[in-house]
């Protein structure tokens, strides 16, 4: 009897959860479907769901017409470069805070977090002016630097959380065996830290890829990444639904796939360990 009830409940739960899940996912699904329609089918009345002539034409049109590859390449360089640079700066800092903590470690961590709370618009003009004077406006270098600084607190925090879980006894054992600091880092810590570093890289690559304040305001034609490329569809090209959909699908597909791998890190990374 009890089993029948749970079984019935499980069926209801499954139906409800799938219903809500599909509803939330629907705008993405609809965008992907529309990207394979012709422009006429994309705005047909009533709308067609699956029964249309599937075509790849929009993808080739988008790629030919608007230097899609350049925007994609800019996104890869900006997101990848800022993440890599951030990791290089953050690993030593997080390492020392996790393994050689001092009285001020907590204050430094909280202060780093507080810089993340600074609203970007509050410092828009100074950054804009500095970029003009340093020749960084509309360059990938400039955006790599700004996005690296923007995400540095998150990178330090995530790495600190991961490093802290590495037991300190292992280090002491290595030291007793006569390992030097360099060997300690290279052969003991690095292998244990790799998973944590990998998840940090993943989440910050996603955050940088999707960043849309600095990338919109500090780029024009040369260094614009995909966020700006899509924004250029706001009108009147946006009325070509099939092409807008193809462009959108190409901009979000890589990140959706990466994102599915980083679900778990998302919580600890974005709440700074406040929710476990």
């Amino acid at each position: 009897m009890a089993r029948a009830v749970t079984q019935q409940r499980k069926i209801i739960n499954t139906a409800a959860a799938w219903g809500v899940g599909l509803l939330i996912f629907f705008p993405i699904l609809w965008t992907i479907l529309t990207s394979f329609k012709t422009e006429a089918q994309a705005i047909s009345d009533p709308p067609v769901f699956l029964a249309f002539d599937w075509t790849l034409e929009n993808y080739s049109v988008v790629m030919e017409r608007s230097d899609y590859m350049r925007f994609l390449w800019n996104s890869v360089i900006i997101a990848g470069g800022s993440t890599l640079l951030g990791i290089i700066v953050a690993v030593p800092a997080a390492w020392s805070m996790a393994f050689v903590p001092s009285k001020r470690t907590k204050d430094i961590l909280l202060w780093m977090l507080s810089t993340k709370m600074l609203p970007a618009v509050g410092v828009l003009y100074p950054i804009y002016l500095l970029f003009i004077n340093l020749g960084l406006l509309d360059t990938r270098t400039g955006l790599v630097i700004v996005l690296m600084l923007m995400n540095l607190p998150i990178i330090v925090w995530m790495l600190y959380t991961y490093f802290k879980e590495i037991p300190g006894e292992i280090l002491e054992a290595a030291r007793m065996d006569g390992a030097a600091l360099k060997e300690e880092i290279l052969y003991v810590l690095t292998p244990m830290a790799v998973p944590g570093i990998a998840s940090t890289v993943l989440l910050n690559f996603i955050l940088a890829w999707n960043e849309a304040f600095w990338t919109l305001n500090l780029t024009a034609a040369k260094a614009a990444p995909l966020t700006a490329f899509i924004a250029s569809y706001s009108s009147p090209e946006g009325l070509f639904y099939a092409k807008l959909s193809a462009a959108s699908t190409m901009a979000i597909a890589p990140i959706l796939i990466l994102g599915w791998f980083s679900q778990k890190q998302l919580v600890s990374g974005l709440t700074f360990g406040a929710v476990k």
Partner: protein, 288 residues
């Protein structure tokens, strides 16, 4: 046990991150403060001298100030209510035994990974367009007149778009929190005959209190700063000019840097008020 040697090594390793962040924080902040006390119009005469607190007064007395505060409150408040209420419900639902839980989770989380310009444009054109949007088809199907979402119901539209983007975040965090709830407690209450609503109100909700606070604080900081969603939809018209957008327009569109910088200082103060509460919670967790 750390030796003097390893201490100084540690300091050296921390130095690049600390110095970079200190520069990233102080240099622009000091410049914003500096400009906020000046009449500074780069395209119309440049630096026109010190004006004291004039910019601060003019920013809050301009006719666009209060509407922008209201728009900001409406968007932040609306999105918070929707994401927290539906986030709690969704988290409870997703925590139940079911088939294909992993896939449902993926479906629910997906919007968070869509870049803001894409989600804003997809909603604007393919859903909210009064002629070809899916909503227009749906409305017509039920015999209603299509709504011009982004002009007639502009704030509602923005709240919908942004809620769609942030619901996954709230759900994921609340789900994580719910999974740490001791299920024996719930089962004991069920055996004692407590109805589902009472179990929710007396056990689940109090347990979620901390996670809800974190969601509210973090989202508030991000929501105060939303930009792309307005930039590609209404450009701040139809009552959707938030404080962030107003400052952006003052600084880059009308190039009134002094006035915009004063607005920027207000935005920084506002964000810091929220941040203080968040930092306290995070700090407490660091001790534990």
């Amino acid at each position: 046990m750390a030796t003097q040697h390893s201490r100084s090594a540690a300091r050296l390793m921390m130095a690049p991150a600390v110095v970079l962040l200190l520069g990233w924080m102080l240099v622009p902040l000091i410049m914003t403060l500096y400009f906020s006390f000046k009449k500074y119009l780069p395209l119309r005469g440049g630096d026109l001298g010190w004006v004291g607190l004039d910019n601060y007064v003019r920013f809050v007395t301009s006719s666009s100030f209060w509407p922008s505060v209201l728009a900001t409150l409406a968007i932040v408040g609306g999105v918070l209510i929707i994401t927290v209420v539906f986030g709690v419900l969704l988290a409870i639902l997703l925590n139940q035994p079911m088939w294909g839980q992993g896939i449902v989770r993926i479906l629910v989380i997906a919007p968070f990974f869509v870049m803001p310009t894409v989600s804003a444009l997809v909603w604007k054109n393919m859903f909210m367009d009064p002629v070809n949007g899916l909503f227009a088809h749906l409305w017509k199907f039920f015999g209603a007149a299509p709504v011009e979402w982004l002009s007639q119901a502009s704030l509602t539209s923005i709240v919908m778009i942004v809620s769609w983007q942030w619901l996954p975040f709230a759900t994921l965090i609340l789900l994580t929190a719910i999974q740490s709830l001791d299920s024996e407690q719930l089962e004991a209450a069920e055996m004692d005959g407590a109805p589902p609503l009472a179990r929710f109100g007396y056990i689940t909700l109090p347990h979620l209190g901390r996670a809800i606070t974190v969601v509210v604080l973090i989202q508030t900081i991000f929501l105060l700063a939303i930009f792309a969603e307005i930039f590609v939809t209404t450009q701040g018209s139809f009552g959707t000019r938030t404080l962030t957008y107003l400052i952006y327009q003052r600084v880059l569109e009308s190039q009134n840097v002094g006035l915009g910088s004063a607005g920027g200082v207000y935005a920084i103060i506002l964000a810091n008020i929220v941040a203080i509460f968040l930092m306290r919670m995070v700090g407490k967790n660091l001790d534990a």
